[in-house]
């Protein structure tokens, strides 16, 4: 057990302070139910703290944090009922769906629709779109997910198409 003020504790505090809000947003994208979301968030924090015991700085702190958060959340999704997993779609399918443009001027409503859109995606595509929404570049997304840079670029292109199709009208205000 690490001592009070160990490196593990220090890095965790730093991570929680810098990425706390991003982790909450990430948990929201993985779990719709508020109660289960709090549990997931706690699981992510515990996972992070434990993982810092083996943090060897082979990758950046940010990459490590997002990997842990996505891996814990993916396990959470995989533990859910199969039926819910079967309802998930990939970016390709989503892109080919009919144009769902809505004249949406309410930002809260836009956020709800955005969360709903993210929650229906398969885990890997969900990780890419979340990283994109958090403002990460393609190289960082590739490092977190393990996808090739080319694959990430294709997915980002699709994400932009989907977002533009679905949120374009709401952003004219």
């Amino acid at each position: 057990m690490p001592t009070e003020g160990s490196d593990q504790d220090r890095i965790y505090r730093q991570a929680a302070q810098i990425y706390g809000a991003a982790l909450e947003r990430l948990a929201r994208a993985y779990e719709a139910d508020a109660e289960a979301r709090r549990d997931l968030l706690q699981e992510i924090h515990i996972g992070l703290w434990r993982s810092f015991e083996g943090f060897d700085q082979r990758c950046s702190l940010r990459t490590w944090i997002y990997r842990v958060a996505h891996n814990v959340s993916t396990s959470h999704v995989l533990r859910q009922r199969r039926a819910r997993l079967q309802n998930m779609v990939g970016l390709e399918e989503l892109e080919n769906l009919p144009d769902a443009r809505v004249n949406d001027t309410d930002q809260r409503h836009s956020l709800k629709r955005l969360v709903a859109l993210v929650q229906q995606l398969k885990p890997l595509d969900r990780q890419v779109i979340l990283s994109y929404l958090e403002g990460l570049d393609a190289a960082s997304i590739a490092e977190i997910t393990g996808l090739s840079a080319g694959n990430v670029a294709t997915k980002i292109h699709r994400i932009k198409n989907i977002l533009a199709k679905r949120f374009h009208a709401g952003e004219q205000k």
């Binding site: 709090r38 515990i46 814990v72 993916t74 956020l111």
Partner: protein
């Protein structure tokens, strides 16, 4: 804005969404981590207690009966339960959160999780249901030979259990196929990387 251009407003909406600002101190994390480990320990204890109760029940049948075939059947079930408990402990003890969670990228982690699930289901007959079958079959035969008046009822009950086992087997096979498909998809993405 064209579909190809970036969509900064959407990322803004995402990043500016209200959050609860949930904070956990290191002490709290330690406590919860210990609680989590304790929960795992108790879950294991519950599994062993259930197995011990079932084995105890068959042990009492074994002691009370004077029929050699019936005693053999009970012994086989007890041995099957013991083997099952051992394998359960070895294979399915709920894993605590691995410290290397951040070392694997999402693709590797996701595939490893699916492979673990598939391996569990694929071999379930070998270690979970299979070891109990010889004992259960012997137990049914022993019951039938010892109770000639209710043979039809015993056959019906056993047939029902046999149908249930076949259903479980079919469902498992279906589940394994689905998992295999998802693993192959991820593998294709990985090798294409």
């Amino acid at each position: 804005m064209t579909p190809e251009s970036p969509n900064p407003n959407v990322t803004e909406i995402w990043q500016r969404q209200p959050v609860e600002g949930i904070k956990m101190s290191v002490e709290e994390i330690r406590k919860r981590s210990a609680k989590f480990e304790k929960r795992i320990m108790w879950r294991n204890v519950r599994e062993y207690v259930a197995g011990t109760i079932a084995a105890g029940l068959f042990a009492s049948f074994l002691v009370k009966s004077h029929d050699l075939f019936f005693q053999l059947a009970c012994s086989l079930i007890i041995a099957g339960l013991a083997y099952m408990a051992y394998q359960l402990h070895r294979r399915t003890s709920p894993r605590s959160i691995p410290a290397e969670l951040g070392a694997a990228n999402s693709l590797q982690f996701h595939r490893a999780e699916l492979e673990r699930q598939m391996d569990f289901l694929k071999h379930i007959w070998r270690w979970y249901l299979g070891p109990l079958i010889p004992g259960l079959v012997a137990f049914s035969l022993a019951t039938m030979t010892g109770d000639h008046h209710h043979v039809l009822r015993i056959v019906l009950v056993n047939s029902f259990f046999a149908v249930c086992l076949i259903l479980v087997w079919r469902l498992n096979a279906y589940e394994v196929r689905c998992l295999k498909r998802r693993i192959d998809e991820l593998h294709a993405v990985e090798t294409g990387s």
